[in-house]
């Protein structure tokens, strides 16, 4: 701007610099919240409700996934030996198995141990084992896989490597069960992703429209600021900070409500089902997820305000 604006002053706030501006815009945002209590409460309430629904879904999903992951502990590979190896050879064999990627735990089961287990399983019917030599049951290695190696293809690849070890005659791992379990998990994750996506879109829609309405209610203020010479940034900054504060407040309220629902649900479910809630394994959202919900609220408030402001600022 040249001649016409020689007298015009660039916005130079009471406190200069980034923190000075941040402090000014934050105090303006807080004043706006105070001056528009009802509208702000509606926005915070909507964000809190929307995030509560999303967090409830997340809580259920996380617990169900945790339970399903627990079932995958049953994925176990058993490697049978032709002949029972000597104790020193057992240690060497265990070492070679441990060296295969994906091995979590290896337990050697001798022929004697195998017979002992069989006997305990047939308690009361031991006569069935009369005349059978203990040598009939082969020695074996029972191998647990870590979580990343429990899907169908990873188990098959693991077994292939295991079979290459000399001395192992046969490997069993409940191929059908692993396949069915992994199909179930894939379906579960797909459903979770679909439901989660729909829920996210719904939450975005509701929150952005609420913010749009609240900003529409203040369009005169936006118009006036533009007419007295405020820059786009000067007009937008307090509204964006308001959006962030409202989003964060909404998220915190939703988490507090979720905490209440969680304890109420656990207590009631325990009484109703006659189970110990602790043993049912239901847990609250982990810290990372809690931080995610708060961040989600902040982003919702910020993006909702930013997109709505675009329409009403005429500078």
């Amino acid at each position: 701007m040249s001649r016409a604006n020689k007298g015009a002053v660039r916005p130079k706030l009471e406190q200069e610099g980034f923190f000075g501006r941040l402090s000014y815009f934050t105090s303006r945002a807080l004043a706006n919240l105070r001056q528009n209590v009802f509208v702000s409460a509606v926005t915070v309430g909507t964000i809190a409700l929307a995030l509560l629904i999303a967090s409830l879904f997340l809580l259920v999903y996380v617990n169900l996934e945790g339970m399903a992951e627990g079932w995958s502990d049953k994925v176990q590979v058993t490697a049978y030996f032709d002949q029972e190896p000597a104790p020193l050879a057992v240690a060497a064999m265990k070492g070679r198995v441990q060296a295969i990627a994906g091995t979590a735990k290896v337990v050697f089961v001798s022929q004697a141990e195998a017979e002992k287990r069989l006997r305990s399983r047939l308690k009361g019917q031991e006569s069935l084992l009369e005349g059978i030599s203990p040598d009939v049951l082969p020695a074996s290695l029972e191998i647990r896989l870590d979580r990343d190696h429990r899907d169908t293809d990873a188990v098959a690849a693991y077994v292939k490597k295991l079979k290459q070890i000399q001395g192992i005659s046969e490997v069993q791992y409940g191929e059908e069960w692993v396949k069915r379990f992994n199909s179930f998990m894939n379906l579960f994750r797909l459903m979770g992703a679909l439901l989660g996506s729909f829920l996210t879109i719904t939450v975005l829609f509701i929150v952005s429209n609420t913010i749009k309405l609240t900003i529409y209610a203040r369009k005169d203020e936006l118009e006036l600021l533009g007419l007295v010479g405020a820059t786009r940034f000067f007009i937008k900054a307090p509204f964006l900070i308001e959006g962030i504060l409202q989003g964060a407040a909404g998220a915190v309220i939703s988490l507090l409500a979720l905490l209440g629902c969680y304890f109420a649900f656990l207590k009631n479910a325990g009484d109703f089902l006659g189970i110990n809630p602790a043993s049912a394994g239901l847990s609250f959202l982990p810290a990372t997820h809690l931080a995610g919900v708060v961040l989600g609220g902040v982003l919702l408030g910020f993006i909702g305000s930013a997109t709505s402001l675009k329409r009403f600022i005429n500078v």
Binding site: A4, N5, V9, P11, L224, G229, T231
Partner: protein, 243 residues
């Protein structure tokens, strides 16, 4: 100086608001803009503070062509122009102090300086006792003074007012006009749009009369006591346009 050069303004789809406007308002002048409702007075004022861009032609403020201003330059221009809107545009949930302070906050003034400056301007307007009231608790005349205070608080180069005496009684009209005159005496160029004949007659200032979007001949009674042109500037007198 405010200049308009072959300015046309039409609203979509095909409603013509202004047609071939040529005018020159020198620095420090006090001009009334008159005409019936729908004559184009408000549109002409909006062109001055860049709320509208002409469909054709050029608007210049102190030699700067507003049609060539970038979006980021518009706020800088508006800071040098005080505007009194027809509907006042006071924010109902803010106090008088906060309403007037907006103009200074935009300029980056500190809180303490804003308090002093706002108090002084409200005192000039005679409403310093209303500093903590909200606009809805004020009378029409008081609201108009708050709007005037907001427009004048940063000593603008130009003051434009759209029907500032529209809903006021005679006493308040006089008071508002004397504030305009005082601002003009301090060097501010004043442009007031009004269709109130008595206000114009009593003020003895230059008049630009609009009819159906065009400037028409100004009757003598409307320029009583004033010498010189009635604000209509022949095309050849408009200087070259510079951005």
């Amino acid at each position: 100086m405010i200049q308009m050069h072959n300015v046309f303004m039409s609203y979509p789809p095909e409603s013509s608001a202004l047609a071939d406007i040529n005018l020159k308002i020198p620095k420090g002048d006090f001009v009334f803009l008159t005409g019936q409702s729908g004559a184009g007075k408000s549109t002409l004022l909006k062109l001055i503070y860049a709320d509208l861009t002409p469909t054709r032609g050029q608007v210049l403020i102190d030699g700067v062509n507003l049609t060539r201003l970038s979006r980021s330059q518009v706020p800088l221009l508006r800071r040098s122009i005080g505007v009194v809107f027809q509907d006042y545009k006071l924010l109902p949930n803010r106090t008088v102090l906060e309403n007037v302070a907006i103009t200074l906050e935009v300029l980056g003034w500190g809180k303490r300086d804003i308090g002093k400056k706002v108090y002084h301007i409200l005192k000039r307007m005679g409403i310093e006792d209303k500093i903590n009231a909200t606009p809805l608790r004020l009378s029409g005349g008081e609201q108009q003074r708050v709007a005037l205070a907001r427009a004048l608080v940063n000593d603008p180069k130009i003051l434009v007012a759209d029907e500032p005496t529209g809903n006021l009684d005679d006493e308040n009209k006089e008071a508002i006009l004397s504030i305009f005159k005082e601002a003009n005496n301090r060097g501010t160029t004043v442009v007031v749009a009004t269709h109130d004949r008595r206000v114009i007659e009593n003020s003895h200032r230059r008049v630009i009369r609009l009819d159906k979007g065009s400037i028409v001949h100004t009757p003598d009674f409307m320029v009583a006591g004033v010498t010189g042109s009635a604000g209509v500037c022949p095309l050849e007198e408009v200087p070259d346009v510079q951005g």
